[in-house]
């Protein structure tokens, strides 16, 4: 991988971040007086004056923008009016809880999605294939909050096996993670299957067969690594879906993570926290996309050639 490739991806990621910060700034400014919005309605005139001073609200938009940008770069996202603490602190203490949920869901996605996709591809057209594909369509169509509610109805209300909400044990984690992981697992299974099918029909697979390489070895050494390339990209794309899904799922299961914090903060218009969550998620997404791009370049050496702009003929 040449440094130009990594550099251009880094530049792209930074640009996305800058766009997000600018977007938040524009929304913040366009929605009214930030002093009124960011502070509570009962804020004292003195507090409002301090706030105006600090964010330079009496200066030009450009200066305001630069002030905002500097503050964000220093990790200063304002103060949550609910408990008066810095918004970043409020957000950061929710991160581990969400990460626990997110990684468990990701694990479920991989464990469910990839093997079922591979098996479906290897036994194409069989009942296994059809069953897997039916499940992927179902998993893709069912809204995750509805799935969560069904699970609660069945396993908490009716069977009384699992707790319906809260955190604290593995059993609390099970249903939210399953709910969150299913939709992504469906997508991954579908992509793994089609990617495997593509690879299995490539000439090099026939060559491997002609060379007398054993079936299992062909699949493991030749097919899987090549099939992994598109799957990695899709996985990266699904992480955005996981984060979006976490917002509803955490609300359904009262899982005290970032998503629930975001929904509660939106409801109570605790906007310092809202913007902190949005910027943190944007940052995460940029990092994830960067990692996916790098993994992609590492898995597929041809990608650099693809990335170059081809001159017109």
């Amino acid at each position: 991988m040449n440094p130009g490739f990594i550099l251009s991806k880094l530049a792209r990621g930074s640009l996305t971040l800058l766009l997000t910060v600018s977007f938040v700034f524009i929304v913040l400014r366009a929605s009214g007086d930030p002093a009124q919005i960011m502070l509570s309605d009962e804020a004292s005139p003195a507090a409002i004056a301090t706030f105006r001073e600090r964010w330079g609200l009496d200066r030009s938009y450009l200066e305001q923008y630069l002030t905002y940008l500097t503050a964000v770069l220093q990790g200063d996202f304002g103060t949550s009016f609910r408990d008066g603490r810095p918004a970043l602190d409020v957000v950061m203490e929710r991160v581990p809880v969400t990460l626990l949920l997110g990684f468990t869901a990701l694990l479920i996605t991989l464990v469910l999605g990839i093997p079922s996709g591979i098996i479906a591809a290897l036994f194409r057209g069989s009942w296994v294939d059809r069953l897997t594909m039916s499940f992927t369509i179902l998993g893709h169509s069912i809204p995750n909050f509805f799935l969560g509610i069904i699970l609660i109805l069945v396993f908490s209300m009716t069977l009384r096996w699992l707790p319906s909400s809260g955190t604290g044990s593995f059993w609390h984690l099970l249903m939210p993670a399953l709910t969150l992981g299913t939709a992504a697992a469906a997508t991954i299974a579908r992509f793994t299957r089609s990617s495997m099918l593509d690879v299995l029909h490539q000439p090099f697979m026939r060559t491997a067969k002609a060379k007398g390489i054993a079936h299992d070895k062909r699949i493991l050494r030749h097919a899987l690594p090549n099939a992994a390339i598109p799957v990695v990209t899709v996985l990266g794309m699904r992480i955005g879906g996981l984060i979006g899904g976490a917002v509803t799922i955490e609300t359904v299961f009262a899982w005290p993570g970032l998503g629930m914090l975001l929904v509660n903060s939106v409801n109570q218009r605790d906007l310092a926290v809202v913007q902190a969550v949005v910027l943190l998620i944007a940052f995460t997404m940029v990092v994830v996309n960067l990692m996916v791009d790098l993994a992609y370049g590492w898995l597929d050496p041809r990608i650099e050639v693809h990335n170059r702009r081809v001159a017109k003929a």
Partner: protein, 279 residues
């Protein structure tokens, strides 16, 4: 120059360079597709351009057609210069100069009847009543031998018929110059002959100037008054068709001519002897 400069096309030192890659630091890499071509096309004359693929002949054709502005050099078209690509003046100039492309199926709207497509070209440049436009489009289609096929959609025509339709769409504007860029290369040999004969006939009837670009030397010899040979972006030599084919001055031209399939074994023997003697 035998023709007066305002009657015909005069190209001087045409150069076209393309960027081939953007580097992070340093200057961009460039590639000279056409490197200093100068020639004339007189009114009613057919200039053939031969060369292998990648020799820059298509790029040259696009510059002569005014579709692409040259990096440097000048074109005088019946005394005028081409307006900037895409401008209103450029669009008006389109009726003077038309292009017939290699793959007719790719250059027609798959959802319009060929009559409607010919009519669209006409009404773009002339304010005509519906019936007048219909009639003139119909006349043009009849002229290219598609008189009873106007209401067909492109996929209902054969490749040769579709190329006739494309020619009709170009000629309905009564252009002065038509550039045929590999216009028959994608067609069957028998169909090629029909299209070439059609072009010859229309050339006389409409007093067209033609620029006929092809890698097929025998077709070019058949249709052209004068022929230019392109290689690696350069116009190696240009001259009267018969002279050039009989006594090529340039070594590359000789090798190119040697590749033409001969009509009879005797011709072939004779040519081989002259080629070896010459090289």
């Amino acid at each position: 120059m035998n023709a007066s400069p305002t009657k015909g096309l005069v190209a001087r030192n045409l150069v076209q360079t393309y960027a081939t890659g953007r580097r992070l630091f340093g200057p961009a890499e460039t590639f000279r597709a056409v490197d200093g071509a100068s020639f004339e096309i007189a009114e009613g004359e057919t200039l053939g351009i031969v060369g292998e693929s990648g020799s820059g002949k298509s790029t040259l054709g696009r510059m002569v057609a005014g579709i692409e502005a040259p990096t440097s050099g000048s074109i005088s078209f019946w005394g005028e210069t081409y307006a900037p690509v895409g401008s209103a003046a450029w669009r008006r100039q389109r009726r003077q100069v038309q292009v017939v492309f290699q793959n007719p199926a790719a250059v027609v709207d798959p959802r319009w009847t060929i009559h409607a497509q010919v009519r669209e070209a006409l009404t773009t440049h002339e304010n005509l009543s519906r019936s007048e436009a219909d009639d003139r489009a119909q006349d043009m289609l009849a002229l290219v031998g598609l008189g009873n096929m106007g209401q067909r959609l492109p996929h209902q025509l054969s490749g040769g018929q579709l190329q006739r339709a494309v020619i009709a769409r170009a000629l309905v504007l009564h252009p002065r110059l038509v550039i045929c860029d590999e216009a028959v290369s994608a067609l069957d040999v028998s169909v090629q002959a029909q299209i070439v004969n059609l072009l010859l006939e229309l050339r006389e009837r409409l007093k067209l100037s033609l620029m006929f670009i092809s890698h097929d030397l025998s077709v070019v010899r058949h249709i052209s008054h004068r022929v230019g040979v392109m290689h690696a972006g350069r116009l190696l030599e240009i001259g009267d068709a018969r002279t050039l084919f009989a006594a090529p001055r340039h070594d590359y031209t000789r090798r190119l001519l040697a590749a033409i399939p001969a009509d009879t074994p005797r011709q072939r023997r004779q040519r081989d002897l002259t080629t070896f003697a010459g090289s």
